[in-house]
């Protein structure tokens, strides 16, 4: 025969136990949220690194990257013929369409695109979510430093190669 109200007391005991613990509420507008590392907030563009190879626009599963460019002739003194260079006219990412998969950042061969953890860019008009080149460059200031290597992990390939070239063993 169970005591009447035993279940109630049990439940209240759990409530009492959690009541004495600290609350886990994040005071977001007042306190900066502690975002996990490598948070995917928004994509920043470093324009100087972009060579208009179109890899990101072609790999994008949503086709939300818009690139326009033209070719420019660069006359190099002493060279046999004039060289050609791609000039970026327009680079826009439609963040209303973007699915934040990061494939554009993965494929970029010259690290022109970077993740930043910023998320505060909700808009009243959906057309403002199309971030043009200048807006994408504003995000560069918020790009975090790359994460450190794992403790006791193997060194980076560049480090190993440089050490080999200089005849020393890797760190």
């Amino acid at each position: 025969m169970e005591l009447p109200g035993k279940g109630l007391v049990k439940g209240l005991a759990v409530t009492l136990g959690t009541l004495t613990q600290r609350t886990g509420t994040q005071q977001y507008p007042d306190v900066e949220p502690d975002l996990p590392p490598r948070t995917r907030g928004v994509i920043a563009l470093i324009e100087e690194n972009c060579t208009v190879c179109m890899l990101c626009a072609r790999e994008c599963p949503d086709w939300c990257i818009y690139i326009d460019s033209h070719k420019e002739e660069v006359v190099v003194p002493g060279a046999a013929r004039a060289r050609q260079r791609n000039v970026l006219d327009r680079f826009a990412i439609d963040f209303s369409l973007c699915m934040y998969c990061g494939i554009c950042i993965e494929v970029c061969p010259f690290d022109a695109l970077h993740w930043t953890p910023e998320f505060e860019y909700a808009e009243h008009d959906i057309r403002d979510l199309l971030h043009e080149k200048d807006r994408l460059e504003e995000w560069v200031a918020t790009v975090p430093a790359p994460p450190a290597h794992d403790h006791r992990g193997e060194p980076a390939k560049e480090q190993t190669a440089a050490a080999k070239r200089s005849g020393q063993s890797a760190v």
């Binding site: 509420t25 507008p29 949503d62 973007c98 699915m99 934040y100 909700a122 808009e123 009243h124 979510l129």
Partner: protein, 170 residues
């Protein structure tokens, strides 16, 4: 209307509307999980005066459309929006409800909930962070604070203009 009511009363009305947003969650996909996370203890949007889980659309002030709106669901979204009393606000939460998102080429997905109902704030993300929803709510509260609303509801853009074809004939 503002001249009839007077600025102090308008301020009080807008202030009351800002901080008692009874929210009605139109959860249709994974974004709804982020919405629920925002309503729970860790993020707790009741701090901002958003009261979750209105009993139905007739008791709600704010509708958060979170997820993929399909053409089959579209009449229901429209009907429930029409059931809400003025003043009413809509937040489009996530890429799918903004413009179709990854399914923009699908045969069955509505390309954005703004084709059906007027949207006040668009929150980008796939899905957006809970903090992004909090930011969107604050953005909506700023909009309500600056509204020229009197006693009789708010001025809205014509919904028919929203559904007009985006490409006009020359």
């Amino acid at each position: 209307m503002g001249s009839v009511v007077g600025d102090p009363i308008k301020f009080v009305l807008n202030w009351g509307r800002r901080y008692s947003l009874w929210v009605f969650n139109f959860g249709l996909a994974c974004c709804a999980i982020e919405f629920i996370a925002t309503s729970m203890g860790r993020h707790d949007f009741m701090r901002l005066g958003v009261i979750p889980f209105a009993h139905g659309p007739r008791q709600a002030d704010l509708m958060v459309v979170s997820g993929t709106v399909t053409d089959k669901m579209a009449p229901a979204v429209k009907r429930l929006y029409d059931q809400m009393p003025e003043p009413k606000y809509v937040i489009s939460f996530g890429a799918c409800s903004n413009c179709g998102g990854p399914y923009w080429d699908s045969y069955s997905v509505t390309k954005g909930v703004d084709q059906l109902i007027p949207v006040d704030v668009y929150i980008p993300g796939c899905p957006p962070r809970p903090e992004a929803l909090l930011h969107g709510i604050m953005k909506l509260q700023d909009k309500i604070a600056g509204e020229q609303s009197g006693l009789g509801g708010v001025n809205r853009t014509d919904v028919k203009a929203l559904t007009a074809p985006p490409v006009r004939r020359p």
